[in-house]
Symmetry: C2
Subunit: 711 residues, 2 copies
């Protein structure tokens, strides 16, 4: 890639971003779009739909930037929760890292690279290849490479210091959030699995007996989990019907009230649709009641056990309960609406096996992903298309069409396949036996991150033939050399990737094109106006993407520092846009207490080590073996630093220490605990088992969010 091409690309993408921002600042003021651009505020009742028309609405303004910027960290934390706060810290941390890296890179490394003469590029400045700004242009064996060497050490040191500071800062926030929280059911409750039920007894009795025996002073109550998937389906049906009914009634939209009863509402006798729905709802309700009474017998050997104190629950979680370690397995319960009910039925050994299967599936998906993509891309060759669709021949021969087809179709296919990855990973994680949605999402986040690193970074760095080159990982000695040969030559690709994909994804995150279109369609066809469900931020697809860009920055820091300014723009835009979205659009549904930070920390360490490995290879290729050898301690020191951080901070992210738990328990006296205990006893009853009575409610318009597990 030459310099002028890069500048053109930057100009185009800046233009695109500007266009998105302008459109956003106009569209967000249109009342019809309020559920897209301020869904959280709507859900919280702070903004109402509708409003007067005035001219100011059609003018683009940047007031939203100020509003997103204004709240202090404390306000943002109390407003959006610790997870969102940690998410924003990722941007702040990345900005700090790449500001420092950018200064070193642009003012020290870049001039050195440019002054080299290895590549002998005699074209004028505009047509110079971007490669002359990379380390490839420094002369072999040149002593100037020692500056790159020192930069690697200094940069690693600064990043590690920032990592340490950030880990400490976030863990202190985590503790202080815990101190300031109200008593919450999940703090007092544990999940027990693998309950050995004696013959002739019920699971409920076994739990009651065990905990009364061994935790008499702290045990409060329990609720046994029941096999309720069939019931869940019935209730979902009833739910859907009920929503439709409420909608119909509220609109009182006469022409739609009568419909034919048969296939697709086209054949069959005409019926009053409301009556018809009400009858069907009644039927389902009867079924639900019958099923509910029978499900009580379908006990699963798992139960939520609540304690009187947090410390009591912690004791039961931390000490192996029964003699057989595969029985009475305890873990801290998630928030009640965060529980993932379907997979409670399986036994210890089946959970263990499904974990293995998921692991294998995940690795295969990650490693082999590019094969089907390549095959499908292969099908889009022009001649192939022409043989398949002969009637398109004349169109495909047009040069514009052929350019689009050959140029965009393959990358479109790749993007399409990639967009399936986060949901697929969530699906795989949900099979792993996690007990809550937040844990599933957290595990999917790691999976997606590794997937991206392999299929975007490595696949492109190793020139698309990652699979073919995979065998280098069976010869560990060769890794630095192969990476050092492949990675720097792809610098211009990744710079372009940051400018195109990076900037546009951030801008479209603000603009929410698909949701806007969906909302527009919905308004035209005026269907189910009421089932508005404010979205929560999909951490498992956002964090990996952001960390991937940070990985580019860290690995290319000494190779091609030109990437850094573009990354800085990316993180600046990201900071303000995500702050806006978290304040206005995304609702915090469940809270992991900053549980994503360790993932971010580890991914940063991984990128540092990757940078070191490439540096070792590069110094070797550049005929400076001493620098290569002296770089070897750097990854070792970085890994030791990581090890220390794991010991120093990670325990706080797994569990709260005794000191906090006991202090918090003592502070409970201020609250009305008997009332809370009453609530606690019923908090973990499967939502499918709560009595339903739609028929009596069909007139009211209030529609509570019935099931937390429908996200």
């Amino acid at each position: 890639m030459i310099l002028s091409a890069l500048l053109t690309s930057v100009a185009i993408n800046l233009g695109l971003c500007f266009l998105f921002f302008t459109l956003y600042s106009i569209l967000r003021k249109q009342p019809g779009n309020i559920t897209v651009y301020a869904s959280r505020l709507v859900a919280e009742g702070k903004v109402k739909e509708g409003g007067e028309f005035n001219l100011e609405r059609l003018l683009p303004t940047a007031g939203w930037v100020r509003k997103a910027w204004e709240p202090s960290e404390e306000e943002f934390l109390s407003n959006s929760g610790l997870d969102a706060f940690v998410f924003m810290r990722i941007f702040i941390f990345s900005l700090k890292v790449f500001t420092f890296g950018g200064i070193i890179g642009m003012f020290v490394l870049l001039p050195i690279n440019y002054l080299g003469s290895q590549l002998k590029d005699n074209s004028d400045f505009q047509h110079k290849s971007l490669d002359i700004f990379t380390i490839a242009n420094v002369n072999n064996g040149s002593n100037r490479l020692w500056i790159h060497f020192s930069a690697a050490y200094v940069f690693t040191g600064v990043v590690c210091y920032l990592l340490y500071y950030e880990y400490g800062y976030i863990s202190s926030k985590r503790i202080s959030c815990f101190y300031s929280s109200e008593p919450q059911p999940h703090q007092f409750t544990i999940l027990v699995r693998g309950i050995p039920v004696p013959r002739g007894s019920t699971c409920s009795d076994a739990v009651e007996h065990f905990f009364r025996e061994y935790h008499p002073s702290t045990y409060l109550s329990h609720s046994v989990v029941r096999r309720s998937s069939k019931l869940q389906n019935l209730i979902n049906d009833a739910d859907k019907l009920y929503r439709r009914l409420t909608h119909l009634k509220s609109k009182n939209y006469a022409p739609q009230r009568h419909k034919r009863d048969g296939f697709l509402g086209i054949v069959g006798p005409k019926v009053d649709i409301v009556d018809h729905y009400e009858r069907r709802l009644g039927n389902i309700e009867d079924n639900v009641r019958i099923e509910q009474s029978s499900v009580a017998a379908k006990e699963v050997p798992a139960a939520f056990v609540s304690f009187k104190t947090r410390f009591g629950a912690a004791i039961a979680v931390h000490i192996q309960e029964g003699v057989n370690p595969t029985e009475w397995i305890t873990e801290q319960a998630p928030e009640p609406h965060d529980v993932y009910w379907p997979l409670f039925t399986v036994s210890f050994i089946r959970r263990w096996i499904s974990k293995l299967v998921v692991f294998v599936a995940c690795v295969s998906l990650t490693v082999l992903f590019l094969i089907p993509v390549a095959i499908v891309q292969g099908l889009t060759h022009l001649d192939q298309l022409e043989t398949w669709f002969p009637f398109l021949k004349s169109i495909l021969r047009l040069s514009v069409v052929s350019q689009i087809v050959t140029g965009y179709l393959p990358s479109l296919i790749l993007q399409m396949f990639l967009s399936f990855i986060p949901p697929v990973m969530v699906m795989l994680s949900s099979l792993q036996g996690y007990i809550s949605w937040s844990l599933i999402q957290k595990s999917a986040c790691t999976k997606v991150l590794l997937f991206y690193i392999w299929n975007i970074f490595f696949a492109n760095a190793l020139s698309g033939s990652a699979l073919y080159r995979m065998n280098i990982f069976l010869e560990p000695k060769e890794i630095p050399r192969v990476l050092a040969e492949a990675v720097p030559s792809q610098a211009s690709f990744f710079i372009a990737y940051v400018v195109t994909t990076g900037w546009t994804t951030i801008a479209s995150e603000l603009f929410q094109l698909t949701k806007l279109a969906f909302n527009f369609m919905k308004r035209i066809f005026r269907r189910n106006g009421d089932d508005f469900d404010p979205p929560s931020i999909p951490y498992h697809s956002e964090i990996p993407r952001i960390r991937l860009f940070a990985l580019f920055g860290v690995t290319y820091f000494i190779l091609a520092p030109l990437i850094l300014p573009f990354l800085l723009v990316y993180f600046c835009l990201g900071y303000i846009i995500y702050r806006n979205q978290l304040l206005k659009v995304y609702v915090p549904k469940y809270e992991t207490g900053g549980g994503y930070w360790p993932t971010v920390h580890n991914s940063t360490i991984l990128s540092l080590v990757l940078m070191h490995v490439i540096a070792i290879g590069i110094f070797g290729l550049k005929k400076l073996p001493l620098a290569s050898a002296l770089t070897v301690p750097l990854p070792i020191l970085t890994l030791l630093f990581n090890e220390y951080c794991q010991k120093r901070f990670f325990p706080l992210f797994k569990n709260y220490p005794a000191e906090c738990l006991i202090k918090k328990d003592r502070a409970d006296d201020e609250h009305n605990m008997p009332e809370f205990y009453d609530k606690l006893a019923n908090a973990y009853i499967d939502p499918a088992l709560t009595p339903i009575n739609y028929s009596e409610r069909t007139d009211s318009r209030t529609l509570p969010l019935l099931h937390g597990s429908e996200a």
Copy 2:
């Protein structure tokens, strides 16, 4: 090696063993040897030194075999403790494995190997090479290899079943031993390290305040650790002096009572030696008292904290106490006399660094061990010796001498170097920050085992040039091929190794040559007759040796089944001899509660996987790629089995479950707990800090074992 040579070697070593047994059965009856052959019984006062002379004493009898055989498992367990019991289970387990393996090997695999014709050995039976009994003799591509393939699967299945059974059996014994134990201080006590001492306060106050605050209902008492190494040295001096004094007084041996005061007792004025010693003892005692009063101020931020219940202690151990995970680090306390005092002073970060340093030292020692050995062995070449010691020239030229020097000296040097390994590993482990001797020994056990596997198995299998070939471990794909080429060809070496080294070490374990010689010398010179210290079994050198032989058996099971009968003899001898030694010679000093079994389990899994890897390589070399590919699942399944066992049984070896702790706490009501609590409060006071008063005791003959930490 040819068959007749093997038979000769077997005959010679059987003869040697028989000789050892005969000598043992005579010598053990001599009263002077009683401290060698029945030291435990002497220490327990069950046998007295001295006795009448009679003829029966000079006749070899095998009564000791019957006596060692007689006690049932239960009796043995209650007599020698769980660790000794587990040690004997190693033999029982190995006997089961190799009986099964031996039957398959000798009656199925050996005939098949012998019937092959790959090696074309036409010599008569006596001169046939042992190689024709190995898999090397099976024709390439022969379908008979499928029998070896099936044998690998069946053998692995049986070994895994036995492992599972044994792990379960030993863990149930561990629990039942816990239930039947008396209340012991270490069950109620934890060690706390990294105590943050506020300015202006003492460590003792900080501990008191913290545990009164957060564990008010269970906290009992604490004792802060003090920096006492100087004091310890003084006390050791006093101890030595006191022993000598008591000895002198008891003998009332007038001629020795006067000695010159000066250099080596040769010059200077004559003094009454008893008076002189008493004066010196008095001086040291004064110093000790002064030091003891000053040491009280030298607090180390570590303390033993005792609780009223075992469950209370477990809670404090399992839940992170303070907000900073590097402070208030808790772990279960060892038995009071098992505490390793010297290393309490160091901080969290220094302990962590020293762990890393020890790790690096250990790996380097293991990997590089053979270099100095080879160098020293190189010095023993005849011409080298002749240039160094010209005066020996005429002697070295004698053919007998030269044969001995060149034949035995190198292996003698290797053995000498090897004998330093267990103490060196103990030394390294003690630097790792373990808090008790038993933990140090357990960690050293693993280190020695890995050392042996590398330096005896791999170094010999890869024909002595292990270091040169080490780079195969950087190319994982090549490992099966290289091992499959190297390992089978060394079969005859390892068979000879079992017969020579194996059988003789077992026989000399019974005969205790060095101790016998030492005892003989002592009796001649009649010195310090009283400081008799019964030995405890050095698990860290015995278990690795036994497991090494088991590793030979498992890896050579399909390659050269001829090794199995010799191993069976080894384990049979070992069973009866170690049972005898544990009942009569070794005193159980500290109890890990069967903590060595996981090491044994893991080493068995390691040998199985090693066998599989070699099998994969062998089937490849033998031109049966299908069998090679079908063997690949075997190591994976074995590792999964291991993973399951770790989940199913290992937690029981780390900690006791809540159920056991609480049941045991409730059963305490039968005991006099207030009295026990009083004892508990003083149990963990550094032995160096207990008041001493030798001067008043010098007349009594009773000599208590003062310090548990002197082993």
